[in-house]
């Protein structure tokens, strides 16, 4: 059974009359799973087989190869299946509307089915997800995960339809989304991944696909703990300003609260392997008198109804300004990382809309934040889009010719954060 540990980083001192309590909670899972506690898993790979996947031809060929690598990573007895997606969804393996336990035989059969895939038709991602949901429903009680690969925009469905599908499927399975090439829409895949608690990334070159699929499937197979929720209790009279995952990526969780009782809500965190994530919690409480201490929040990791770990968020009111004005490093850092992600997305949108002044300002601020926080990965991606004159002041010039893949990589990976490092302030 995995062990979870938590750590809470905050400045619990508030000025008199102060009501906003911030804390960074680090949750670490050792990912240790005994034979018996390994959750029963189910896996589906959803491959876009629309016409565009055949041009260039190697795109579909790379998808076949990548899926085949992913299939090899699936543990014995994990229920799995393959879906081919066009304007309709088709279960290509198995074809009888169920999932099959992985074995040498079924893996080989699945690869044969892969070879028969043809690239023709449109793109209706909602229908692919709906079929995945239906197939997962045939293996109740399992921890369900899908990989979705597409190279284009959702053409045959309205946004509303897709939103409806996502809210219907939320919590039923987790879905990692991958866009290959540059003809897909970052915001669309992000919406799907975020709705289904998965990751989103760009695969710029078809030949990189196999390596990425292997990592995804190995990570999925390494998940030792099924559905885990972050449970937040806050006292009567308090309100939750936000709950946000801030590392390794930024994910807003505030709107995903599932109320447990008047004072407690659960936020979904899906499955956990051997990993560590940070959460930024912001709670507004009723101010108390100087010297009074209160519990502003209690964070628990719950699996089913079992509590795995706990962290306390406290508030102490003081008239000592030396205490109350200290800004917690972790809180400041992640507030900056969230702003960084927002600046990148707003900058890219502005650039696309031809508002170059806003784009320059936002991306300049992003460069400044990335430099301050030592977020080298994001800095590198930013440099693909802007020429950095002075990172410290955020002075940048927009590049004239930006490759679509550079802009999409920056957009997709804008939510990747770094932890507080020695160089960070």
């Amino acid at each position: 059974m995995s062990t979870f540990t938590t750590e809470c980083d905050q400045n619990e001192y508030l000025p008199l009359g102060g009501s906003e309590v911030n804390a960074i909670v680090t949750v670490t899972s050792d990912g240790a799973a005994g034979e018996t506690s390994q959750p029963e898993a189910a896996e589906i790979v959803i491959i876009d087989t629309s016409g565009s996947m055949g041009a260039p031809r190697r795109k579909l060929e790379a998808a076949r190869k990548a899926t085949s690598v992913a299939i090899d990573c699936i543990r014995d007895d994990v229920a799995f299946g393959l879906i081919a997606g066009t304007e309709v969804a088709q279960a290509v393996y198995p074809t009888d509307g169920t999932l099959v336990p992985a074995s040498a035989q079924t893996r080989a059969d699945a690869k044969i089915a892969l070879r028969r895939l043809k690239a023709e038709g449109g793109t209706a991602i909602g229908s692919w997800l709906t079929l995945a949901g239906t197939l997962f429903a045939t293996v109740p009680g399992r921890s369900c995960h899908a990989i979705l690969l597409t190279d284009g925009e959702n053409q045959h469905e309205t946004d509303d339809h897709l939103d409806g599908v996502l809210s219907e499927l939320e919590g039923r399975f987790q879905c990692d989304c991958r866009g290959v090439g540059t003809d897909w829409k970052v915001s669309e895949l992000r919406r799907i991944a975020s709705g289904l608690l998965g990751s989103v990334d760009i695969i710029a070159k078809p030949e990189d696909m196999a390596g990425d699929f292997r990592t995804l499937m190995e990570t999925a197979m390494g998940k030792a703990t099924g559905n885990v929720s972050l449970r937040l209790w806050a006292p009567q009279g308090a309100s939750i300003a936000f709950v946000r995952q801030v590392a390794p990526t930024i994910e807003e969780l505030t709107d995903r609260a599932v109320q447990v009782n008047d004072l407690t809500a659960d936020y979904p965190t899906a499955t956990w392997g051997r990993e560590s994530r940070d959460y930024h919690v912001c709670i507004n409480v009723q101010p108390r008198d100087a010297g009074e201490e209160m519990l502003a929040g209690r964070i628990s990791l719950v699996e089913g109804e079992e509590t795995r770990a706990r962290a306390l968020v406290k508030a102490i009111w003081t008239d000592d300004q030396r205490l109350s004005t200290q800004i917690n490093r972790g809180v400041a850092h992640y507030t900056g990382q969230a702003e960084l992600a927002d600046c990148i997305q707003e900058g890219i949108d502005a650039r696309r809309d031809g508002d170059l002044a806003t784009a320059t300002f936002k991306l300049g601020r992003a460069v400044q934040l990335a430099a301050e926080s030592g977020n080298d990965g994001t800095m590198k991606l930013l440099q693909g889009v802007v020429e950095v004159d002075d990172a410290a002041t955020g002075t940048v010039r927009l590049r004239q010719n930006v490759a679509a893949v550079d802009e999409m990589s920056l957009d997709t990976r804008s939510t990747i954060t770094v932890r507080v490092g020695p160089g960070a302030t």
Binding site: W233, P235, Q236, G237, D262, V285, E292, E293, L295
Partner: protein, 310 residues
């Protein structure tokens, strides 16, 4: 107002019997191992500061004084008061009693007394402001303050509420306004009067001839109040009364934690008369609170005493 006695709108009121430890801040029941209250988050173990809350608050302003005492049976003080002396002898006073069958009665009483006090202080300083209107404004401010107690809607309990009695003493005139069963009395060398008439089923019963005062005093409805300050209060205007005393005397405002032990004006007056002649308001207030504790201290006790010299 004590837990067992309030029975207004019986189906709404969750009458709680106090059993086991409870949070000193909000009254929620506590488990022995709790470090923080599971409802309001207040620190409740020994290291916390809420535990060390004063069991008695005293304010001595020479010509006026107030004492609020937790009593001997309650785990916290749900009474609250505001007292201010301005100019020569202008006094603004508010006494509130949190209804303990409701959530956060202590917060309701504290916020009500504070809000009403702010309005009264301002009005007392304004010679053009009519005292009765000032008191009505102050009570409205108290109602607004209690409605804003945020946890009113979060749990299915009775909304926070309290009683309120207040007075403005200015230029030889005393104006008293009240909601509920906290009282005001006037004592001078010849007279002892109760200035207020409780908003209670007992008083209404007497007024309608349904009960004799003796029956009312024994009635289980003695403490069932018919008007209070809170979001769910009946829409009845607060009552006011104005007095122009001819002789020096004392105005006394108190909660039922005191008058339970000396219900009639003459009994209370007798207790004050037994004190040394010329006792200061602070001495009188202390003596009355101590008397209530000596006689059982069943409820929180708050008493304000103001010397009037017209």
């Amino acid at each position: 107002v004590s837990t067992e006695d309030v029975d207004v709108n019986a189906e709404d009121v969750n009458v709680r019997t106090q059993a086991g430890p409870s949070c000193p801040s909000c009254g929620a029941p506590l488990q022995a191992e709790d470090r923080f209250c599971e409802r309001c988050g207040a620190r409740v173990d020994d290291e916390g500061s809420t535990e060390a809350a004063e069991t008695r608050v005293e304010l001595d302003l020479t010509i006026a004084a107030a004492v609020s005492d937790q009593g001997l049976h309650h785990h916290r003080n749900e009474d609250s008061f505001h007292l201010a002396v301005t100019g020569e002898r202008n006094v603004a006073v508010v006494v509130c009693d949190g209804i303990s069958s409701a959530s956060a009665g202590n917060v309701a009483a504290r916020n009500a007394a504070q809000a009403a006090g702010v309005v009264l202080d301002k009005s007392v300083a304004d010679p053009d402001k009519d005292a009765s209107q000032a008191i009505l404004d102050a009570i409205q401010a108290a109602v607004d303050a209690v409605i804003q107690v945020e946890w009113t809607t979060r749990v299915k309990r009775v909304d926070p509420s309290c009683t309120l009695v207040s007075a403005v003493c200015r230029g030889g005139e005393i104006t008293v306004g009240w909601v509920g069963d906290s009282r005001a009395y006037w004592f001078d060398r010849e007279e002892a009067h109760q200035l207020t008439v409780d908003d209670s089923f007992a008083e209404e019963g007497i007024a309608k001839g349904l009960l004799t005062p003796e029956q009312a005093a024994k009635s289980p409805f003695l403490h069932s109040i018919t008007n209070w300050v809170g979001p769910d209060a009946p829409e009845r205007p607060p009552r006011t009364v104005t007095l122009r005393p001819e002789r020096p005397g004392r105005l006394v405002l108190c909660t039922d934690g005191l008058w339970n032990y000396a219900p009639s004006a003459s009994e209370l007056g007798g207790l004050i008369d037994a004190l040394p002649r010329g006792a200061a308001p602070a001495a009188v207030a202390r003596a009355l609170a101590d008397m209530a504790n000596d006689r059982g201290g069943h409820d929180n006790i708050t008493v304000a005493v103001i010397d009037i010299d017209p």
